[in-house]
Point group: C2
């Protein structure tokens, strides 16, 4: 273990993130479980990439079978990308009927920004002030958790993120109004500065901001502001997508608005590097005609086979229904947790957040101790929020009631042993 850490530092350099003070050495995955080198098992309550559970045999089989048949670029004709893409876009309304495949959510968001610029002929982009949309240079400009080298360029504006501890102002309705007003002001600033306004990128449930439990309709006023200004709503569904929310396949359906495009990533291939943008034909055409985009690995037959198997399993195993049912059950258990520092417990399907605050201020240190203690007891969690004070839980969708009980019981034990 010490040896692996030393080898990492020698090979990968400094400041390469690992999870946990004493990182785990994972060698095997199966369903909701990860196993370390000593055979100890951990309940994975964090990894939304392994959407169907780790190493789902149908995805493994689809990859193995197709990799032995053909794995090449999309400049030749192949049914794989068409069969998958037609099935995928059928899951969207609002005229989102075309697809562009990439290898990562970062690449998808990078394309999405250019789509907005191609449609509008403007460059100005807006995101929230506490978010992450990926790691390319252009997308990192929006990602406030990881400030870009050389600072933020002038065509980017940031608006205050919805936050349950630091509300934008007043009642839920007033907060929605304040968010829209801040977007309107940012648009005005971009236009004054000569950049013009191309689009607003956001995760519809504000997952990286801490999933602040917004009601349907929260974004209606904002969407109106954006559309009136001629800009696009760029909806990053990398976290809420593919049925995690239980009630809906996509986050924007829950919030009830019509995006101009959506981007997809992590869960799409259950670990295989595949991602996509789904857009209206007018948006796709503006981009395709302005820019000769080609991505060597994207849309290859193996990626499409993996992604297609993911849809098969979600449907055949009823995983969206499971996310709704087990999600509600698990949320019920989490809501029974009692601790003086718990400020809020909330959930959407199999996506949960527990917020810790001390005297009304976020308590990231306490949240960090909970994550470490859970790891020591065999449960893998993450955290998020302005002060990393929010437990973030996104287990694989086959999460069971028994898994939920184990999670809730472990958290209860930990909290009992950790006075405020």
């Amino acid at each position: 273990m010490t040896d692996l850490i030393a080898r990492r530092e020698a090979l990968l350099g400094p400041n390469v993130p690992t999870f946990y003070d004493d990182p785990v050495h994972i060698v095997r995955g199966e369903g909701v479980w990860l196993y370390d080198a000593k055979g100890r098992r951990y309940l994975d309550c964090y990894n939304n990439v392994a959407h169907l559970g780790h190493c789902h045999p149908r995805v493994v089989e689809a990859i193995a079978h197709q990799a032995a048949q053909l794995n090449t670029h999309s400049r030749y004709l192949h049914e794989g990308i068409l069969d998958y893409g037609e099935r995928l876009v059928a899951k969207f309304d609002h005229g989102l009927s075309q697809m562009l495949m990439t290898c990562t959510g970062s690449e998808a968001n990078d394309v999405a920004l250019r789509m907005a610029q191609a449609v509008t002929g403007k460059t100005g982009l807006i995101a929230t002030d506490n978010t992450y949309h990926g790691n390319t240079t252009a997308v990192a400009h929006l990602s406030t958790r990881r400030p870009p080298i050389g600072g933020y360029p002038p065509h980017i504006r940031r608006v205050p993120a919805p936050d349950s501890l630091a509300p934008l102002g007043g009642s839920p309705k007033a907060q929605a109004k304040a968010f829209a007003a801040n977007v309107a002001q940012a648009i005005e600033e971009l236009e004054q500065a000569g950049h013009g306004f191309a689009g607003l990128m956001l995760c519809p449930i504000f997952a990286n901001e801490g999933m602040p439990g917004l009601a349907p309709g929260f974004l209606d006023a904002t969407v109106n502001v954006v559309k009136r200004a001629g800009g696009l709503i760029l909806c990053d569904e990398v976290q809420p997508g593919f049925g995690r929310l239980g009630s809906h396949w996509w986050g924007h359906e829950l919030l009830g608005f019509a995006p101009d495009l959506v981007t997809l990533g992590k869960p799409m291939g259950n670990g295989h590097p595949v991602a996509a943008v789904v857009a209206r034909p007018d948006v796709m055409a503006a981009f395709r005609n302005a820019f000769g985009y080609f991505n060597t690995f994207a849309g290859n037959p193996v990626s499409c086979a993996a992604a297609n198997a993911v849809l098969d399993v979600i449907e055949d195993e009823g995983l969206v229904e499971n996310a709704e049912a087990v999600g509600a059950y698990a949320l019920g258990l989490l809501l029974e947790l009692r601790h003086p520092l718990i400020a809020d417990v909330r959930g959407l399907g199999l996506f949960f957040a527990i917020e810790f605050a001390r005297d009304g201020l976020p308590d990231g240190a306490f949240c960090g101790r909970v994550v470490e203690a859970a790891k020591d007891r065999g449960i893998l969690l993450g955290r998020v929020g302005r002060a990393q004070h929010i437990l973030k839980m996104r287990p694989p969708l086959p999460f069971s009631r028994e898994n939920a009980q184990m999670l809730a019981t472990t958290l209860k034990d930990i909290l009992q042993e950790m006075p405020a």
Copy 2:
């Protein structure tokens, strides 16, 4: 076929590139061969992704085996990324001892640009005026074949690419001097404009520029200019890397210069989406300390298993030696081709270029007809160059003497039937 084309247009939108006027419908690959839906086979002389041959069983087996074991992010400890990375960096000199993994060559080049900016604290970048380094927003700024939406930003400068038909000036030595002088002038312009100079990105054999057959030492003067100005040499080895040149594992070894980092892509996983930057520790540290880079899919155990199997096969099957021996044999055959429009025939290992010109001017139309005719006769080729007038041939490395004979004989027949 018509149906597939119609489905592509409906799903993917306009202006999505396919190869050939009448695109092929490929359903299976094996070794150097691709098979269409009617069972017709094509000799693949273009696809450098299938470095070991299509669907190499050892890579398929490595992917299938690891995908069934574990496929998760690199924030947990795992031997896969370490075993692979240590083996990879051992193949480099010049202190290039650290690695950062990505999913695509575009992502690797996007990171490379930021590494140069992190080391120097400057933003100015230089590339040639006829190149392609990938598809992210930042990298597309360097890619002259595909102009960026909104035009080139002011911190990018382009210098005339080496070109066998439009020499930079005079003898090979004079051309090298002219290239260096143009880079020096671009650096001066970037400094005058307040951007400063971060780095020069280039493919060491100028593959996308048409592989103009440069002698070792061509870049020596340029490298001196760049280093004196405090900038970095960002060496894009996506095409020449992993032994394709036969004489060397990497293009910069052939040219004989010391890059500050190299980027790797297409052949690295024989089709699996995996790519990397290999850099000196000081370069890696500057980037890692300036920017919290994390890439969800990159360096996962499956990608590393695929990439490791690629190294196994290259070594066990003697593919670098084969590239050198069969490459020399094939070049000999190609040099025997006779046609009034052939301006030059050149090769480096299993990378060949045949340049067509009419009255000293590039003849892209003729080259296009050769590509189409070869496809009709069962040979897949591509083309490149300022006027798309250069046949580009990069077959999988197990290319045999028999394959080379088939390629040369087919080209001979085609050229005989196509008067100037």
